[in-house]
């Protein structure tokens, strides 16, 4: 297995900047998920690592070897494509052994490797089938098998589950997690699905507009998003944002907008004098919205809102609340039993509240 290093990697298509000086390090045996919305440059970065896309500027290293101009097959990587890319005129076995035959391995060794991978992926009975005779999930497993047999230094996955239905996606996600535990390989996995990122990754690289927004463990990027984009991208349902201005009254700091005034305690954001006057956005996850009367030490004072819509999801319920001009989504225990139009008291958990500078978009609270 191997380390991968991106150093100031830039990609331009004509005049369009796709990647703008991306630098990142992926450690040996690490499962890193690169996540971001469509067009953020994540697939381009992976394809550049695979050697399928030219690098405009910067360097890519695999195991401390510069691979910028190295042929894809020499990089000792294996890639699983979004659309599987199985060779339609070859059987499953031929697909899996294709790379090994090109390496001119002995037939005994090829057969052993193919059967070992087939056993891991439960493909043994399907080895003689053609790709068109397989289901979506089976094709995806063959694509993974084709990567495994090569014993590569780095596995690259390009949105491998995006063509599967929800149930199969969940199953394959677990399969990939098990496979990682078994192979203990270096894996770089690209997806736009933050659930896949959160569940599979050892570390997540979040990208937008060709720039890395944040790198961290799933819990780090969830609990301490570096900026407004990461806060909005990670987490489901999406984080609530309240926009307003910070104002100091003596030593106390308040967040104010046209219909809301919230006290911000010093443990959330200190140095009232320095922060006063800033345009800010408060970020609160729907799970950290506290509904109902009563006072809690770690909770903001309650504000009045009107319940607009409630969505029962089984064990949870999403409440869409309007408080003045602010729209708030709260995720609460099921059976809230209030009808739309009724008044609700809404508070916010200070411990998981985030304050962002609206101008720089960066998170400014430290807790």
């Amino acid at each position: 297995m191997a380390e991968v290093r991106f150093s100031h990697v830039t990609k331009k298509f004509n005049e369009n900047m796709i990647l703008n000086g991306v630098s990142a390090e992926i450690k040996d045996h690490e499962f890193v998920v690169i996540v971001g919305p469509s067009g953020c440059g994540k697939t381009t970065l992976l394809r550049m690592l695979a050697g399928l896309e030219e690098i405009t500027a910067g360097e890519i290293y695999i195991d401390n070897v510069l691979v910028n101009n190295m042929h894809p097959s020499k990089r000792q990587i294996a890639m699983v494509f979004q659309d599987y890319a199985l060779y339609p005129h070859m059987t499953v076995e031929e697909n899996m052994s294709f790379a090994l035959r090109l390496m001119k391995l002995k037939s005994g060794a090829i057969s052993a490797r193919v059967h070992e991978a087939a056993a891991i992926l439960q493909l043994t009975k399907l080895l003689k089938r053609m790709p068109k005779q397989l289901s979506g999930g089976q094709r995806q497993r063959v694509a993974i098998g084709r990567a495994i047999v090569r014993h590569p230094k780095v596995f690259l996955f390009d949105e491998p589950l995006s063509n599967l239905d929800a149930k199969l996606r969940e199953e394959m996600r677990v399969e990939i997690a098990k496979l990682y535990q078994r192979l203990n390989a270096t894996i770089i996995y690209v997806t736009h699905d933050q659930v896949e990122a959160m569940t599979l990754a050892g570390r997540i690289v979040i990208m937008n507009h060709g720039i890395i927004q944040q790198v961290g463990t799933p819990i780090e990027v969830y609990r301490k998003p570096a900026n407004l984009f990461v806060a909005g991208f990670i987490g489901s349902p999406t984080m609530n944002f309240l926009y307003g201005r910070l104002q100091a009254e003596g030593e106390k700091l308040f967040f104010k907008n046209d219909s809301l005034t919230l006290y911000l305690p010093p443990f959330l954001l200190a140095d009232a004098a320095r922060n006063a006057g800033r345009e800010a956005a408060l970020g609160i996850r729907p799970d950290d919205v506290v509904i109902g009367p009563g006072v809690r030490e770690d909770c903001s004072e309650k504000i009045e809102g009107i319940l607009e819509v409630s969505e029962l999801l089984g064990h949870r319920e999403n409440l869409y609340i309007k408080a003045g001009e602010n729209r708030i989504l709260a995720a609460v225990e099921a059976f809230f039993n209030q009808s739309p139009g009724s008044k609700v008291s809404v508070g916010f958990n200070y411990r998981n509240m985030h304050v962002f500078d609206k101008k720089t978009q960066k998170r400014i609270n430290n807790s």
Binding site: L52, S73, D83, L102, K132, R146
Partner: protein, 284 residues
């Protein structure tokens, strides 16, 4: 059965009968001349021009076929045609398959213009190209040779083949080649190992087009070839047409014989014309 159902069934029957009437009429129009030629080819020599419409005339025999094979250079003409046609087809398809791949997969200056120019050559009537082709072949010193004919035929059928193959390559996902590159092939290796085997339907169509065009061609052959031994069958058959008398029996027998190679090629390549080979390779 209510009136609506009866009316619906009647409508369906009329539609069915009409469609089949059209199909039968087209088949008769296509097959009838062939049957007449066959009929003429087996008539006795003194009854070639006759008002008799029977398919197998009285006194039918293969005399015309024997005379054609024994008294003329027909076998030689057939051989010439075969050599030229097969060489043209293989060269044409080989060049077109690689050129089409470049047009389909690579970006290069003049790509769009090149494709439009290729297409525009197909809009020029064949007769207009005779003089430039004649001059080109003459300058190359290839008059009255197989090579001259092969070059003339290959270049004239290339544009169509390139367009057919390019269109087909465009439908093959690039990820297949990329997977092959990661697996260890070169770009050329990916083309030969992945793209070509998947393109057999389009390659068959291009081959058939090249084959039938070269096999049936007359105008270019008339200009390039001038010795009887080098003639293709199209020119050879016209040898049988005299100023005062035409050997219609032998003419018809020759016409029947020349359909055989085309028929064999068509039947053989039809199994490659099965499309949908890429099904199941990618998402879906």
């Amino acid at each position: 059965m209510d009136k609506k159902t009866i009316r619906h069934r009647r409508k369906k029957l009329v539609k069915y009968l009409l469609i089949h009437a059209v199909i039968i009429a087209v088949v008769v129009i296509c097959v009838y001349p062939l049957l007449r030629i066959f009929s003429i080819s087996i008539r006795p020599g003194d009854r070639v021009i006759s008002a008799d419409l029977s398919l197998i005339p009285s006194g039918a025999g293969i005399a015309a076929y024997l005379r054609l094979l024994q008294d003329t250079l027909f076998l030689r003409w057939l051989w010439n045609s075969l050599i030229i046609t097969i060489a043209t087809s293989f060269i044409g398809v080989s060049l077109a398959s690689t050129a089409a791949y470049a047009f389909s997969r690579f970006k290069f200056p003049g790509k769009k213009t090149g494709l439009i120019l290729l297409l525009s050559t197909q809009m020029i009537p064949a007769g207009m190209l005779i003089l430039p082709l004649f001059l080109m072949i003459m300058k190359l010193g290839l008059m009255n040779t197989y090579l001259g004919m092969i070059i003339a035929y290959s270049v004239s059928s290339l544009p169509f083949s390139i367009w057919i193959l390019k269109g087909y390559y465009d439908t093959i996902p690039r990820s297949l080649e990329e997977a092959a590159l990661v697996d260890g092939t070169s770009q050329l290796g990916a083309f030969y190992r992945i793209i070509l085997p998947l393109s057999t339907p389009a390659l068959s169509i291009a081959f058939l087009f090249n084959f039938t065009t070269a096999w049936n061609e007359y105008l270019v052959a008339r200009v390039v070839l001038f010795s009887s031994r080098q003639y293709t069958w199209t020119l050879g058959l016209f040898e049988l047409q005299g100023q005062y008398i035409t050997q219609w029996g032998m003419f018809a027998a020759g016409s029947m014989l020349v359909t055989v190679p085309v028929l064999i090629v068509f039947l053989y390549s039809s199994k490659w014309l099965i499309s949908g080979l890429t099904l199941g390779s990618v998402k879906g």
